[in-house]
């Protein structure tokens, strides 16, 4: 347990904005999309209010892809997982901890940034609330998909671009239900988003761990 805590502290130090790895770039990217959208489709408030929630979802999905490049690759190359393996820290534990750290590093700030983004798009109070709840339910799943794909592509050349391409189809169910919750006032879509997220979070550390072990043999 103390090993997990030590790992989490290290991972957070690397991934959190201000840490040596990620930074606030995904967040600025997210806000920039929300800001540019009205320029592209025109400023009609009705149109923006109707489509703004979906735009926020797509922007969140794309912002979740940005940190993937640094998520696992550097540590695989530096042999960090080798050293952890020798200390009896399984790849599964390391990946589960990394998943938590990855989510903590991008999701809470994304949720906060959703508020100014919603204001920029002129979303109503109710829509904003649905978007926030949907993102809260969906971002763990996005983080899980991102982690598994990042681990899979860690030892490939040009893996970052490939990771982005692979995350998108896998994230479709989250996007459909999460953004779908905006279309009708019914909590079941949000619950389905959360269910998909939980399932992905359970599977991702196992898949990512298998990917890292397979990369050793390559």
């Amino acid at each position: 347990m103390s090993a997990a805590w030590t790992l989490l502290r290290r991972d957070l130090g690397l991934l959190m904005p201000g840490g040596s790895g990620g930074g606030v770039l995904p967040l600025l990217f997210f806000l920039a999309v929300a800001m540019l959208y009205p320029f592209a489709v025109g400023p009609e408030p009705e149109l923006l209010a109707r489509t703004g929630g979906g735009v926020i979802w797509v922007a969140a999905l794309l912002a979740a892809i940005l940190p993937l490049e640094k998520l696992v690759t550097d540590d695989v190359e530096a042999g960090v997982f080798d050293q952890l393996h020798l200390r009896g820290v399984t790849e599964e534990l390391a990946m589960a901890v990394r998943l938590i750290a990855h989510w903590l590093a991008f999701a809470p700030l994304l949720l906060i940034a959703t508020l100014p983004a919603a204001a920029l798009l002129g979303l109503g109070e109710e829509t904003t609330q649905t978007v926030l709840l949907g993102l809260l339910a969906g971002t763990p799943g996005l983080a899980a998909v991102g982690l598994a794909v990042a681990a899979l592509t860690a030892s490939m050349r040009g893996g970052a671009a490939l990771a982005g391409l692979m995350v998108i189809p896998l994230a479709v169910p989250i996007l459909i239900f999460g953004a779908g919750a905006l279309a009708r006032p019914d909590p079941s879509a949000l619950l389905l988003t959360a269910a998909i997220s939980l399932g992905l979070c359970a599977l991702a550390p196992l898949a990512a761990a298998a990917a890292i072990r397979a990369a050793r043999e390559a």
Binding site: T6, E77, A78, G79, D82, Q83, L86, R216
Partner: protein, 193 residues
């Protein structure tokens, strides 16, 4: 519990090339093994197989006691100052007094320097510090002398001698001569497939 490292009849395949086969090794406390051979013969692969990081193509490896590995992968965050990067492993290994090791390897003046600015030899010494702080009985060293100056090479040899003297096991892969305490020489080319 006595430390022990045994490999029975292992073979190693990389890609579709069989590097070596029929290699057996039995280490008891105090043993030092010097793995030799030209580049590409499978020294690093053998070390990784013994560490349990690479599955042998055939054969079996058993290790009793903690394993410590030093290879060309540093496993220290390049952007962090050395002290902070090492502190992570110290916490993980439950090392209570890292100062002595840092002193021994003359790393103390470098603790504030980000790892990416360290020279090859300094990085190697940092990796050795992590190994020492782990207090494990089995050392697996892959080219530990690379990039070290004469004096540092001497101190690595002294560290290994001291380790074996205390009942530790050291398996050292090195293409350059290294003075080990009554070493068993293991030329991998003898087992080439």
């Amino acid at each position: 519990m006595q430390a022990q490292l045994t490999a029975i009849d292992i073979a190693c395949r990389r890609g579709d090339r069989l590097l070596f086969k029929g290699l057996s090794l039995a280490c008891a406390p105090g043993d030092a093994v010097h793995v030799t051979g030209p580049n590409g013969v499978g020294k690093s692969s053998l070390i990784r197989i013994l560490a349990g990081l690479l599955r042998p193509f055939s054969g079996e490896v058993t290790a009793e006691g903690g394993l410590g590995l030093v290879d060309e992968r540093l496993a220290l965050d390049p952007n962090q100052p050395l002290g902070k990067a090492l502190a992570f492993w110290e916490r993980l290994d439950g090392c209570s007094e890292p100062g002595r090791t840092l002193d021994l390897l003359q790393l103390e003046p470098l603790l504030d320097v980000p790892v990416r600015f360290l020279s090859t030899g300094q990085k190697k010494r940092a990796a050795l510090a992590r190994l020492l702080n782990r207090h494990c009985p089995i050392w697996l060293l892959d080219e530990p002398l690379n990039g070290l100056d004469g004096q540092a090479q001497k101190s690595v040899e002294a560290l290994v001698a001291q380790h074996c003297d205390r009942g530790g096991i050291a398996v050292v892969a090195s293409h350059q001569p290294i003075a080990l305490p009554s070493p068993t020489l293991l030329g991998i080319e003898d087992y080439a497939a």
